[in-house]
Symmetry: C2
Subunit: 375 residues, 2 copies
């Protein structure tokens, strides 16, 4: 198994405005994307990989700054999603802060950064933008679409909005909608950002500041929900930051426990590169995703649109953000429609983050499913 | 079953400084407390009730402003903790913001509010202060000590520090220490408060401001951990704030879901009365509690000090803050020492908050245990 090697991001401008679920339209939307492998003559071997909150078009290989793609362990020559057989596309979603048109870019109507005036984008809007990219690439139908977490919601939305343009759908560590608790965590993160005095109502760019305090708190909180209780316990437990035999500092302001140091570091790092308006947009897209809503809450009715497609659904036992029970709701809706689905609950200790990790059984399963899809 | 009726808080000043675990001492500590029922001639029927994060000495009955005690459903004439039989004491802990000496009071050394210079207080320090109150009241030995959550940790600490001064210990919805995840949630809340520009390093009193943004976020987050996933789902689900058939607002800044409105309301309310330095102190006391630490992590060794006492340990199935498994650790340590313990896991949907609610089986259990203790 090798790497796709060095890759160069590409860019496309969607000439016609992108109509959005909200009724607004996004003008002059640019999408940044990467591709790995070769599109075959029949243009039938394309696989789209959809990203989650803190990721981008850079799925595999190495870009000039040296950073490795976020799913490089899964995508490459000889890897479970094999770029010797598939033409793999990673695309950055509108509203992101990693290259595609987002709130830090100029609003054509004002010439100033969109900020919090950037239109609210949904999972469905992203999928529609991705379909435009396929038009640009001359791809009528995907062999498959694959995503984890929020990316898994996009994979599901492909099946429901553009079922004729995709043959197979892999939805990993995801849910058919957010629970009240999921929404609640998102709302705490948003309030931390919005009430940071440096947020300036979402127009902080003009003030030369960034709401770093709020972003830090949002990321620290998010991080807790990505890890399992068990993995945090195994990794940090009650270990003191200054060593097992150190005297207690008895301080409310300083770091005492190793887990505090880890979280602060994650928060600091994130607040240095992630955009606050993007954080709000992406958490809202998560909140809004709910394909059953248009069908009176009946998920099986929603999935009637996806008859004839092949699904892979994977969950992880210790994922409490999108627990296995949420994946089983998806599986039930598929089975109710006699839709082919492979489902696995992987016994992994890592919580929600497990979908990004290199677990032997999980990767073997993805590999086998793609081998079936390709034939 | 009746109410204890109207009650008047009382106040005692501890003349000698209170020595603290940190090595510091708290000078001139005043404690506010309430009592319900009558101390018998043998002075043998006293029960101490310890409070958790957002509570106080006001356990039962009604104070002049009309507010009902936080455990009024459990404590009163004919109630599970029967004030016709027991002399019940509620006491506010040092560091609190509900009357006993805390960070908003004057530091005798400077004449200015303590603020973040208030010494770090631990569960053990609180128990020692409570013992001083018993001295003042002329009570050599408690019939029982009772507490839930952080109050349960105080009940356990009574058994370990002052086993000769208590005959029975009831520890409800608690844990022998915080997990890494518990500490992590506390740390997120603390960072939200400390990085609020209105915190002013903990000396905000002099600036005429309060770090309300941070307190709001801390409370919203805390609230999520007090409720179960199931109870949030049952109460709020994905219900829209403006009604089931309202059009979506497609906003990142405004309230869309009912659960958001509820959390914001809880945060606003809390930030209007709770002290930020108290929040830091109390979460740190939670973090530090770890009676096994002095015994190489062996909880059974710690509980050897409590031989001869009678315990009640209660957990709630949907409590994910202090899950039943944490209570079972306590039970195991007691059983390893041949200490008498009644243990129950109550099948309740309400999460951690269940310990404050009026559940028939739970209250029947507490009643039966107190009847046994009293004889």
């Amino acid at each position: 198994m090798g790497s796709v090697g060095s890759v160069t991001p590409q860019r496309v401008r969607l000439e016609a405005p992108l109509p959005l679920q909200s009724g607004a339209a996004l003008p002059g939307c640019e999408l940044v994307y990467e591709t790995y492998g070769t599109l075959n003559a029949a243009r039938s071997n394309a696989v789209l990989v959809c990203h989650a909150l803190n990721a981008s078009h850079h799925v595999a290989g190495t870009v000039p700054d040296g950073s490795l793609g976020w799913w490089d362990n899964l995508v490459g020559p000889g890897k479970p999603l094999d770029t010797d057989r598939f033409f793999v596309i990673g695309v950055n979603n509108p509203g992101s802060c990693f290259g595609s048109t987002g709130p830090m870019h100029a609003n054509p109507a004002t010439g100033r950064p969109w900020g919090s005036d950037f239109p609210v984008v949904t999972v469905e809007d992203w999928v529609d933008a991705q379909a435009r990219l396929l038009d640009h690439l001359g791809i009528a139908q995907l062999a498959a679409v694959l995503g984890g977490s929020l990316g898994g919601m996009q994979a599901l939305a492909w099946a429901l909005r553009h079922p004729a343009r995709v043959r197979a759908v892999a939805a990993i560590a995801t849910a058919p909608n957010l629970s009240a608790q999921n929404i609640a965590f998102n709302e705490v993160a948003r309030r931390a950002i919005i009430t940071d005095p440096d947020f300036h109502g979402g127009h902080f760019y003009a003030h030369g500041v960034v709401p770093q305090r709020g972003l830090r708190v949002a990321r620290m909180l998010g991080h807790i929900t990505y890890l399992s209780d068990d993995s945090m316990e195994a990794r940090f437990g009650r270990r003191l930051q200054r060593g097992e035999h150190a005297a207690l500092a008895y301080s409310t302001l300083d770091i005492e426990f190793a887990v505090e140091s880890y979280l602060r570091h994650q928060g600091d790092k994130f607040s240095g590169y992630f955009d606050a308006n993007t954080y709000l947009l992406i958490t809202r897209a998560l909140d809004y995703f709910d394909p059953a809503r248009a069908h009176g809450g009946n998920l099986a009715k929603a999935f009637a649109a996806a008859r004839g497609l092949h699904f892979l659904v994977v969950s992880f036992t210790t994922d409490w953000r999108f627990a296995p029970a949420r994946s089983r709701e998806i599986v039930k809706a598929l089975v109710d429609n006699d839709i082919a689905v492979n489902y696995a609950e992987i016994d992994a200790p890592h919580g929600h983050d497990a979908f990004l990790l290199d677990d032997r059984r999980y990767h073997a399963l993805v590999r086998a499913w793609f081998e079936k899809v390709a034939t």
